[in-house]
Symmetry: C2
Subunit: 216 residues, 2 copies
């Protein structure tokens, strides 16, 4: 059976990612403990785990603040993802099974049916297993890499999406890039897969950087 600390952790993480608890706000332990119907013990455990994922910030004797993402954090994260997901793509080209590649291709096909995408207004992917990057990372068959990207970074990325209510403003391009990556995987071309993935993420970052300059 899952422990109560686990439940609190999952619930709190969801609340933070979805913005139910405003980013940057200070929260008290007692307050949160009551909210989740438990004592401060398990709650503190949940907070520590969230801290290691950079979803909350703790300062000794002062308290807990929900983490905020400013633009520089966001840009830094894109560099991380470029390096890590690039490597993931390289490894996926080598290690993915035929079935996994076929599954990924089928996933893209369902995206292709999406009306919003066809109209070039949005490229929304359902979370978790239905996310292209999510599946590709798992295809690297590298546990440490997967844990790092999905266990630690993924939730911060999700938080960003909700916080800035961000949707890629280049849906068709992004979709086309996904398709090219899958083609590289099919060809088992690790070099190409890594290069395409890095360009894919780098383009998204530059897109944001330009947006900052324009609005500044």
């Amino acid at each position: 059976m899952r422990t109560t600390a686990d439940r609190v952790f999952a619930a709190l993480q969801d609340a933070i990612v979805h913005g139910e608890i405003p980013a940057g706000s200070r929260v008290g332990e007692t307050e949160l403990a009551e909210r989740f119907g438990t004592s401060r013990g398990p709650l503190r455990e949940a907070l520590r785990r969230l801290e290691s994922r950079h979803l909350v910030e703790r300062t000794p004797h002062v308290g807990v603040r929900i983490a905020t993402l400013d633009y520089s954090d966001l840009i830094e994260m894109y560099y991380l993802r470029e390096a890590l997901e690039g490597m993931a793509a390289r490894l996926a080209a080598i290690n993915m099974t035929e079935d996994e590649v076929a599954g990924l291709k089928a996933l893209l096909e369902t995206h292709h049916q999406d009306a919003a995408l066809r109209a070039n207004v949005a490229y929304l992917q359902r979370e978790g297993d239905f996310d292209f990057h999510y599946r590709l990372i798992q295809g690297s068959h590298n546990a440490a890499l997967t844990e790092l990207l999905i266990g630690e970074l993924y939730h911060r990325v999700r938080m960003y999406r909700y916080q800035f209510s961000a949707h890629a403003n280049r849906p068709l391009k992004a979709f086309a890039e996904h398709q090219h990556i899958v083609e590289a995987l099919e060809a088992r071309d690790g070099d190409l897969a890594e290069m395409l993935m890095r360009r894919h993420i780098s383009a998204a970052r530059q897109n944001i950087e330009n947006h900052i300059k324009e609005t500044a």
Copy 2:
């Protein structure tokens, strides 16, 4: 003032990394609490933080085991480092100050004076600020990347060094590669710096993989 949980965390991490507590051994919370002269509360917090760094493994209701590194973990970590430190080198070439580059060059000069290195028997670097990779990573001026590599991965790497009492068995080559990387930094050539760093780490990995095959 530092909290007791902080002290316990630092002490325990050291004990694990240096092998004072054998890797793979099961340890009880009460036992550890007594050893560090505190109660189970702060100790559990320290354990949680060590868990997020993959230095201990916890299973609910069962207990704590000091993490072990098998070869596949080690190999996976090298892929991570190749991706991340490669990116760090690229960013360092762009973001390092002239002083930092000069400092790194001076550091290599002190390594060059080391007798063991000259005799090609070992390339031992003092830990922390005196480690080449450590300094270069900080030179990336990317807080997220630095936190990830130094805060999370670095201690696992150190643990491996102690556990396998590993010393690079290609000291002069490794040293020469470091020098070439610094030259790329001086030239502010990000592409080259990344490529050299990736080859540097990749070579170390292949070295280990070959070693495994031979002894298997």
